[in-house]
Assembly symmetry: C2
Homo-oligomer: 331 residues x 2
């Protein structure tokens, strides 16, 4: 843990530029001074530690031609914090490891820090620490999010008959990536969905207080893949209703409806939540949820005893959902 | 957190190869199943969380020509765990983010995992989780170590009159780096000091139980730089006794004594501990420490009220210690 350390020189200048740009609250119940070898913080009574890490690297996860440095900072912090939301954990803060080529100066660190700070805003999460290093080429951020929860929600408790719900809209980030990959400039809403996603931390804590959440996951790999993760961990199957999918606004104008549905099902990085809850428990809370958070809540399907995930068409026909997310090492 | 996840494909194969090679204990008091969005574990009563991260990247921190993949795994885990030792924290485990070019196959992940596993052996630390991603070029490991401590030891409590002690020998890793940089093959002891350092976790806990540790730090940047960190954080100065420095064996054969001392003072990455304790408290424990751990304990200096760090020569003469460690962005 090296942010805030006192030494002078170009490395320390970059560290300060980043930490000052992030801003935000101090470490809660800190047991070590800033800039020590590690960060130490207390939890609330009965809480366990919840930790998750998420790497974000140039050329693989993003390209400089696509988004700016502030977006890179925001986007990478959102990825880690979203995993805390998926467990309905109370966020405490993030550790940020940054690797960047020596020719990038303090202005890049400031921009990355402003983006991280914008993502932390309103979450109560603090910048806990991290590490800064030069790289031979390309920028990499590795984000670790830390939080507390007495009973974190896993992927493994979905039961046959449970309803499946998602927060927000699906496929906005995927629409942007599809445009960039095809050489097009995405429309602003798609661009924003990709570059400025909101980790659903408050939404998850709100739901945990009111609903018996059997299983929850964040949609980082896309609904098709992430639902399969829930089904496999819970040893159940699931049915998605095609007509119910809340397509993101940029997908609604697509002439090719099949393509729009495919992006909504497989486009990762929306960072919405998918959860399973007992039938009938969520419907009555929908209006209050949307009122509290300004985010939709949509029932998209049902948990089944039969293994496998199927997609039910509006005419009642069903087909297996075989679409897959990204594999870093498939060629 | 993605290790252990159940999907099939080349990415999952690599994840499994790594996790199986690491081996080691299960997550203590786990509150989420393996492969969930995050890892969750309980702490002992009164403990606070202690977290630290350390990035290790090809071309900057290591070169493939210098060491093998097992060494890379061992070395990078040691860097993060050593920061826990510096705070006298009880280790719980590590999160490992790995980025590597797609052409590197599962055998590289197995070797990295074996090295990480070798470093964890005997520490009670578990593989908690992490992330795997492809990279455009070069291998990067970002290690986060997590632990617990009721009262973690910081750098900031050294007081005038305190004795300064170090564990082990200094400059072994630095001798290896100096040889490689000069186009030479290091001798085995130097190579081993660099590639297989032992984080002093048990030593730190042993000391914490018996000594009023005013301040402690691990020697990742070299004694000269790390002592300055302690002095700055504690608002004191310090005096090092040149004759007392425990030179690593590879340095003892150096014809150029000045060069040997320079490497012992500035060679980082030995991962020994430097601590400040009340005068007279440690000397009587030295034999028991060396008996328990098979590691030397050496008094190297004294904390002074006057700002600045000085080096005292055997003839009594003093000079300011101006040697510096590595700055990633100085060109």
């Amino acid at each position: 843990m090296r942010w805030h350390r006192l030494a002078r020189g170009p490395e320390a200048d970059r560290i300060r530029a980043f930490a000052e740009a992030v801003g935000g609250p101090d470490v809660p119940d800190a047991r070590l001074p800033p800039g020590d070898d590690a960060v130490s913080f207390g939890l609330e009574e009965d809480e366990a530690v919840v930790l998750t890490s998420d790497a974000y690297t140039e050329g693989v996860h993003f390209r400089r031609e696509w988004i700016g440095w502030e977006d890179v900072g925001h986007r990478s912090a959102a990825g880690a914090l979203s995993d805390l939301a998926a467990c309905a954990a109370r966020p405490v803060g993030i550790l940020v490891s940054v690797l960047l080529p020596p020719e990038l100066d303090t202005s890049v660190l400031s921009a990355l820090g402003r983006g991280v700070g914008a993502c932390l805003e309103g979450t109560e999460a603090a910048l806990l620490g991290g590490d800064l290093s030069s790289s031979e080429s390309g920028v990499t951020l590795d984000m670790v999010a830390a939080g507390g929860a007495a009973e974190p929600v896993g992927r493994n408790g979905a039961r046959p008959g449970d309803e499946l719900w998602v927060t927000g809209e699906l496929g906005g980030a995927g629409a942007a990536v599809a445009d960039w990959t095809g050489g097009l400039e995405p429309e602003p809403a798609a661009r924003r969905a990709y570059s400025r996603p909101t980790p659903r931390l408050r939404e998850a804590l709100w739901l945990r207080e009111r609903v018996d959440l059997h299983a929850m996951i964040d949609l980082s790999d896309g609904l098709a893949t992430d639902l399969r993760h829930v089904a496999a961990a819970s040893d159940v199957g699931a049915e998605l209703e095609e007509a119910s999918l809340p397509l993101a606004q940029p997908l609604q104008g697509y002439g090719n409806r099949e393509q729009a549905r495919k992006i909504a099902l497989t486009g990762g990085e929306d960072y919405e939540l998918l959860f399973a809850a007992p039938a009938g428990d969520v419907g009555g809370l929908r209006a209050a949820f949307e009122e509290a958070h300004g985010v939709e809540l949509t029932r998209v399907g049902t948990v089944r005893r039969e293994q496998g995930v199927i997609l039910r068409a509006p005419d009642g026909g069903e087909r297996p959902l075989t679409l897959s997310g990204f594999d870093h090492f498939r060629r």
